[in-house]
């Protein structure tokens, strides 16, 4: 499927939506499909400072436990608490209600290392 046009992507299948210096982060539709039914999501603490491409959480599906990598550095402003009771939201709406965390972006230049939708599409359909 085509990727939403207003997002940036990492090679590890995370998406970023930038709004000023706030970034909303989630995993892509391709990622949720490959993982299968997600049963547990572990997210960093609000207020934590995280570094680009480092593991910041864990996503557990019936198939596997995978690290969640942050596509950008920054301070965690919010996490999606609703996923604690409803991790399936990541499967249902990976780009909507299944968002994972919001960051205050530390370095806007890091966004240049992420992929535009068309480039990510190539990776996801390989």
């Amino acid at each position: 499927m085509a990727q939403p046009e207003d997002l940036l992507f990492s090679k590890e299948h995370e998406w970023v939506k930038l709004d000023g210096d706030t970034a909303t982060i989630g995993i892509t539709d391709y990622a949720q499909n490959a993982l299968g039914d997600i049963v547990y999501v572990e997210l960093p603490k609000v207020g934590a400072t995280i570094k680009q491409f480092s593991p910041v959480g864990v996503i557990e599906s019936v198939k596997a436990v995978s690290d969640l990598f942050t596509p950008l550095s920054g301070e965690v402003l919010a996490i999606n608490d609703a996923l604690e009771n409803d991790p399936a939201a990541v499967n249902r709406e990976p780009y909507g209600g299944g968002w994972l965390l919001k960051l205050r972006v530390a370095d806007p230049n890091e966004a240049k290392t992420l992929l535009p939708p068309a480039d990510y599409e190539k990776i996801a359909t390989e």
């Binding site: 557990e60 198939k63 596997a64 399936a88």
Partner: protein, 498 residues
């Protein structure tokens, strides 16, 4: 065909807690003093609804359960990664002899020379077979031995003053327990990607090696069933920066008598007695995981160690550098006896034949399966190989999970699926050495017919298995809403002790 209920309780066998009546248990002995004559009152839990069943009801209950399950005694069990080999019955017969079975753990050494000889001989045999200086028989599982090995590494580096070594390197073709054991010991884990041929590259590992390298944990052959050809160079590179090499013995069934971890350059290793030799598998029961070390690490082995002075064997606890015991008493001694019986029954040439047949059987099935499923690493494998249902999923919506479930309807245990993680829609198949050509042909034919069904009528597979006692279980619900404890019903269990 009707779909059977997917919950075992609905299918006819109540739980042992739901059977029986108060006072029904056969009482062969006169009632003794009340429990609080022996134990302090606060530790007695009167609220526990312990079942109270007659002996006959208990026998019938567990016999029924045994008839509803599946094991290697009933059919082919091609589980990859965790070798599930047949345990010859003679090994159980050996440990059932009273001289072993009734030996008290506190028997003085001079009256337990036979049992100590079993431990000593097994330790010497393993050291010779795998090229290590010494083994400990103390850990009671493979992952337990992994933990012991990393504790040894930690102590070794601490005593050398090299406390900055906090990184453990684990390739993505390794077993899941490796990073877990490393994390338990406070190491941080570097995951190393394998190359397009499924191997660890020397150049790739050099990028992550440094003064902070503690241990590199590898499985060889790896979890793709492929032999790491650069292992000698990798070991040399790790040693060059002062790190230790750890061999995960999960796949040792492929190499016996052909190559040895010690010769490959490994400093530490474990074996899973159930995977490479013979003991009952899994189920959380008593396990056995011998832990091997090279000469510079023998002083760190867990206690006790069986030592020999002249003709006398004894349990040695006085080892100042030891990491201490990993287990109570002398660990699972009966498993050591089973393993030694297996080694003696096969002998050096027989063990080579075990590995040769395990590899031959895997390659026979691999080539046949490649006719109808993708095999991402198309080259001779060792004792196991991976196939992928990626194309089937893309074109017909049939996943590895559906193929695995459909195999149950054909009377086979499913192979491991979705592991290793680097192969999408992975099926990992390991036939082991004891299966006949007829069994392997029948398995391949069953898998072929399932793949044909997948292309013609994918819907037919989505409800599989249809013929097993328990139908397709809802794994997602089980993980999202785990219900792990039986509770008495509202009116109270019939057997509930007031």
């Amino acid at each position: 065909m009707p779909t059977p209920p997917s919950d075992s309780r609905d299918a006819g066998v109540p739980l042992i807690f739901e059977l029986g009546r108060r006072g029904r248990a056969n009482r062969y002995l006169e009632e003794g003093k009340p429990l609080d004559a022996f134990l302090p009152r606060p530790v007695l839990r009167d609220e526990l609804p312990l079942p109270d069943n007659s002996e006959l009801d208990v026998v019938r209950h567990y016999t029924k359960l045994s008839q509803r399950t599946f094991g290697i005694d009933l059919g082919f069990y091609p589980l990859g990664s965790c070798t599930m080999k047949y345990n010859p019955r003679v090994n159980d017969a050996i440990v059932a002899v009273p001289a072993f079975a009734q030996l008290h753990p506190f028997t003085p050494d001079d009256l337990a020379q036979g049992a100590l000889m079993v431990m000593y001989e097994l330790e010497r045999s393993l050291s010779s077979l795998f090229g290590m200086a010494a083994f400990s028989l103390n850990p009671s599982a493979g992952a337990h031995a992994e933990l012991g090995a990393l504790l040894i590494a930690k102590k070794y580096f601490k005593e050398r003053g090299e406390t900055l070594r906090d990184k453990v390197i684990v390739p993505d073709t390794a077993h899941g327990t490796n990073p877990a054991s490393a994390a338990m010991c406070g190491f941080s884990v570097i995951s190393l990607p394998s190359d397009e041929r499924g191997r660890v590259g020397v150049a790739e590992i050099r990028k992550v090696l440094g003064p902070d390298t503690a241990v590199c944990m590898m499985t060889n052959p790896n979890t793709l069933g492929l032999f790491e050809e650069s292992i000698a160079e990798i070991a040399a590179a790790v040693h060059e920066v002062g790190g230790l090499m750890y061999y995960d013995g999960a796949n040792a069934n492929a190499i016996m008598g052909y190559t040895r971890p010690g010769d490959m350059g490994f400093d530490l290793m474990h074996l899973n007695t159930h995977k490479t030799f013979t003991i009952p598998h899994g189920g959380g029961g008593a396990g056995h995981g011998p832990l091997g070390v090279a000469a510079h690490l023998t002083e760190y082995l867990p206690t006790p160690v069986v030592t020999r002075e002249d003709s006398m064997l004894r349990l040695d606890f006085d080892r100042p550098k030891s990491i201490g015991p990993m287990r109570s008493f002398w660990s699972n001694f009966a498993h050591a006896a089973r393993a030694l019986a297996y080694l003696y029954a096969n002998g050096a040439e027989g063990l080579k034949r075990v590995s040769a047949l395990a590899v031959l059987n895997a390659n026979y099935v691999r080539v046949k399966v490649a006719e109808f499923l993708e095999t991402p690493y198309a080259e001779p494998c060792r004792h196991e190989f991976v196939a992928s249902a990626q194309t089937l999923k893309r074109e017909h919506g049939v996943r590895a999970l559906d193929l695995a479930k459909a195999l149950l309807d054909h009377g086979y245990m499913a192979p491991t699926i979705y592991f290793p993680l680097i192969v999408p829609e992975c099926l990992m198949i390991e036939p082991t050495e004891t299966e006949s050509k007829e069994t392997l042909d029948a398995f391949v034919a069953a898998l072929r017919s399932i793949v044909e069904t997948a292309k013609r009528d994918p819907e037919a597979l989505f409800a599989a298995p249809l013929t097993t006692v328990v139908g397709r279980v809802d794994e997602t619900r089980a993980a999202r809403q785990p219900d792990l404890r039986w509770r008495p019903s509202a009116e109270g269990a019939a057997t509930r002790i007031p």
